[in-house]
Symmetry: C2
Subunit: 320 residues, 2 copies
DNA sequence: TTACACCATAGATAATCATCTATGACTATA
DNA sequence: TATAGTCATAGATGATTATCTATGGTGTAA
């Protein structure tokens, strides 16, 4: 058999001829003329190298080889069809894979979005990458993921960012600390305290530093700790105060307490970040839609919803 | 996906590109130029409606969709390949089906050929049809079988016949009958006996009638019985004498005995009969070859072997 | 025996395919 | 920064394909 020349079209036509038992009938069904179908059969026969049908009592019936070929056709065509359905589902985003890179703090909230999304889309497979800002920037540079969440989007022309969720930064101290109930507490009053800070380059640190600078305050004692979790534990054990995302604290508030500091919480927001030129996997697109749908309702983030809607719109226009 | 336009050639090329990870390498392997392969990919991509490969570190790697497509390709190609192998095997005659129509008497010998053939060719499926001469002629007229065994081939221009096995007709009587040990026994001596005969039209009957006619003998008492087996039993129970194929007697000799009649056994032969215009299934051809191979050795039928060899030769030249 | 239904073949044509050569862009390496 | 290797695109061409209309053969059913 000359497999090279075999076409799905031929198999389709052939299968229909076997089913109807008539060349003319197939021609009508497929909106072709009878000679066209005759010739397709002839060509298929040449490809196979063996008679595949014969005339019998005014019906066209497959030969022994023809029957085997018919089964093959059914098999191949249905497999192609399954693939076609997979493609549709993939394009609808209901199936497939995407990867999302999260900056550390975001790992405390994203599960609240990814979880329900995963429930609703069991066929979608999400890879979550987590790292500090620098690590994520590296991944971003190397195009390693489809979607990122940053507090401060990388400044890159090829980037689209949508701030979707506020990330309030609060000052926390150990549980039942002495400032907890003071009104009009200011940073001025705390500047002698030791502050446990994330590394420079982390968004939390950057935001806090900027605020301190603009407020003209300099801290006396600081210690650098590279993980939100470690900082939280250190605060709980009385090593000092810290600035953390309120989400970090909300996630497991044991042993720490937010201080009612004036000017706080500092406002900051997480952004979805995608590359302009990268074709977003439909599943990732679907995730963004999903998020857009729940932001206002479940997170009271009307602004975020708008930003994501805008992002989706842009993606739509850029797509294909 | 535009399944209509999908070609096995495209899948072959694509699969190779995925395997090698290089368009140039595939071009060389398939004796094409690099742009040709590039364009094939492009076309496949258009058919699928989705990017299927991307460049990554000087390698061509499939996208997510591409991977699914690759699996599909493998699957489809290997199925086509299996079919191709089936075709080869079918053409070699080692696989497939044929039907053979036997005239009654032949059923006593043909198993000795069909049995070993079936053993040697377990993938070949044989349908054996059995009937009296008239029934077989009807089947023959209606082209119902691929191959026939007749004692007297139908006289038809469209027929090829090869006498392959002698079918000696003998006169039998009950065991230990009074003629058994007489020398120079002639039909003349027996003509007062009752003869149990097959129906007119049966080959055995026809041969015997012809012999009687040429010998100028008329039987006094006859009875017609339509089955060799029934005749054998009737003879055994003393109802009369009969003319039967020696093979019938040899098959189950209980209760009957061959008479040493002058001029007997009558010579007759079985013929393989095929229609000229009918394309013989390879399996049937293989059966004939098989028979040709054993005739001289196992049946001492040198003439038969030659006749079958001649038949095979003719089939060869007429084939395709 | 005449119609009719069905299929095959011939001949024509526009589209598409399979290829090639030439060339340009990009990337990794010497 | 040359250089070599890998792809993509453009343009050309002969072969093949998908189709059609027209016509002729064959067998079945009035």
């Amino acid at each position: 058999m000359k497999v090279r020349q075999l076409t799905f079209r031929l198999l389709q036509v052939y299968a229909d001829v076997v089913r109807t038992g008539s060349i003319t009938a197939t021609a009508n069904r497929l909106h072709l003329t009878q000679p066209t179908v005759s010739q397709q059969l002839k060509r298929l026969r040449e490809i196979v190298g063996e008679p595949i049908v014969r005339q019998e009592d005014s019906r066209v019936v497959p030969t022994e080889v023809g029957q085997a070929l018919y089964q093959l056709s059914q098999d191949l065509l249905s497999r192609a069809d399954v693939f076609s359905q997979y493609l549709d589902e993939y394009n609808r985003g209901g199936r497939g894979h995407f990867s999302i890179g999260l900056v550390n703090t975001a790992q405390y909230v994203l599960p609240r979005l990814l979880g329900p999304f995963g429930q609703a889309n069991p066929q979608v497979d999400v890879t979550v990458e987590i790292g500090n800002r620098q690590q994520m920037l590296n991944r971003f540079e190397r195009h390693e993921d489809d979607l990122y969440v940053f507090s401060h989007p990388p400044s890159d022309d090829a980037v689209m960012a949508a701030p979707f969720l506020s990330n309030p930064l609060v000052v926390v101290g150990p549980e039942n600390n002495r400032w907890a109930n003071i009104n009009d507490l200011t940073m001025e009053a705390l500047k002698e305290e030791r502050f446990l800070l994330r590394e420079p380059g982390s968004a939390t640190r950057h935001t806090f530093d900027a605020w301190l600078y603009s407020a003209g305050i300099e801290l006396h004692s600081t210690q650098q700790i590279a993980s939100n979790e470690a900082i939280r534990l250190a605060v709980a054990s009385g090593m000092g105060l810290a600035v953390l995302s309120r989400h970090v604290v909300a996630d497991s508030p044991k042993g720490v307490q937010e201080l009612p500091l004036q000017g706080f919480p500092l406002k900051s927001r997480w952004h979805f970040v995608v590359r302009r030129e990268r074709r977003l996997p439909p599943a990732a697109y679907r995730f963004l839609s999903f998020v857009q749908g729940v932001l206002a309702l479940e997170f009271n983030e009307t602004e975020g919803e708008l930003a994501v809607a805008e992002l989706l719109r842009t993606l739509d226009t850029e797509r294909r």
